[in-house]
């Protein structure tokens, strides 16, 4: 006989529905194991055993969820601050960050795969229905046949944890995609292409009214300078750049901040010689 699990069931429903939710658990003190589920805009589920404690923890859980934080806090039995009668672990389940990839090209599948590993909800968007198919991108959460600017107008506003990667290589797609992405608060905006491609793209973006401040948000050429060559390596370089910008570490260099060709010849043999051969022939 499997136990009834109303709180877990409600939690699982919220997580499967990509809804933000927080789970509070008494991990020390009176009422050990008691739980309270806090979901914005809905009544709470469960109780920590005291209405005042429930009220205070609900308030704190909303704040933790807003910040995407999980931590253990201490309270008195009735929710008093600066007391330690109970310890409550508040676990936040923020929604998955989103990555929207414009352009259904070779690099797209590799980037979608790596982004899934990192926990992104991945959308592949391309106006050309021949290329943007679920058969080609089974790993994507969503495959959309539409123009980038029209698609961005339909999604929930992008925020600091979200990413837009423009891989189209084609001015008629990438300029509207970048202009539309710049109108959002997206945390990462990268565009594929060589330095020469990007220089001409910058001219077209200026013609479209994009300011210097907005151009500074565009990471192009896209990715960290890892010497990446294959689609998979390029995907890692892109995701590594997203992480590096978020953590603001020193000692890593984006391709954007370097000079010279972005596909420099490998300086040391790669472990798989077949890969080297294929790269040189390409």
């Amino acid at each position: 006989m499997v136990a009834d699990t109303p709180i877990y069931d409600a939690l699982a429903r919220a997580l499967r529905g990509e809804r933000p939710i927080a789970l509070a658990t008494i991990v020390e003190g009176v009422g050990l194991g008691a739980k309270l589920l806090v979901e914005p805009g809905r009544p709470t589920v469960g109780t920590l055993g005291n209405v005042d404690l429930d009220r205070v923890v609900t308030r704190d859980a909303r704040a933790e969820l807003g910040a995407g934080l999980s931590s253990t806090r201490h309270y008195g039995e009735h929710g008093e601050a600066r007391e330690r009668a109970v310890s409550v672990f508040i676990e936040s389940f923020a929604v998955s960050p989103r990555m929207i990839i414009f352009g259904a090209v070779d690099f797209t599948a590799a980037l979608a795969r790596v982004a899934k590993v990192l926990g992104y909800h991945v959308t592949v968007c391309d106006a050309r229905s021949t290329f943007a198919t679920t058969a080609r991108f089974p790993m994507a959460d969503l495959v959309v046949n539409d123009w980038p600017d029209r698609h961005l107008a339909t999604v929930d506003p992008l925020g600091g944890r979200d990413a837009v990667c423009v891989l189209t290589h084609d001015a008629k797609f990438d300029v509207p995609a970048i202009v539309a992405a710049l109108a959002t608060d997206v945390g990462y905006l990268g565009a594929m292409g060589s330095r020469r491609t990007h220089a001409t793209r910058v001219e077209r973006l200026r013609d479209a009214g994009v300011t210097d401040a907005d151009l500074a948000r565009v990471m192009a050429p896209i990715g960290l300078d890892l010497g990446a060559r294959t689609p998979e390596e390029t995907a890692v370089a892109i995701c590594a750049e997203i992480i590096a910008l978020r953590t603001n570490v020193e000692g890593v260099r984006s391709l954007r901040d370097g000079v010279g060709p972005i596909h420099a010849a490998p300086s040391s043999p790669e472990p798989d010689s077949a890969v080297v051969t294929r790269g040189r022939l390409a």
Binding site: V2, A3, Y8, A12, L32, G33, S70, T72, F89, E91
Partner: protein
């Protein structure tokens, strides 16, 4: 929790009882942040992880003891271990605190 939900669903559909171990606090340098989750069923199958592999074995034992009623639900902590390969602990110098409980909520 997200990454172990499919394990939980599969095990419960098969009539298995499940214990959940979650990292609830980390002192100093730790391998995983609060919220890292491991699940263990009463057949000893495991999903998820709570460290870099340093303490998982001990957590499985604790989870099985909780499922068997030999240990109460509650906190367990793992701190620094020296070079003794047989002791359980973290090599990175921190301490992690886990809450281990049956999935009966």
């Amino acid at each position: 929790m997200r990454e172990v939900m499919s394990d939980i669903d599969r095990w419960r559909a098969a009539g298995r009882r499940v214990a959940v171990a979650r990292v609830v606090a980390v002192d100093g340098s730790g391998p995983r942040d609060p919220g890292a989750t491991m699940v263990v069923n009463d057949a000893g199958e495991v999903g998820g992880s709570v460290s870099g592999g340093c303490v998982e074995g001990a957590v499985v034992e604790q989870a099985l003891a909780v499922l068997a009623g030999e240990q109460p639900r509650g906190l367990v902590s793992f701190g620094y271990s020296d070079d003794d390969a047989f002791s359980v602990g973290l090599t990175c110098g921190g301490t992690i605190h886990l809450f281990v409980e049956p999935l009966d909520w």
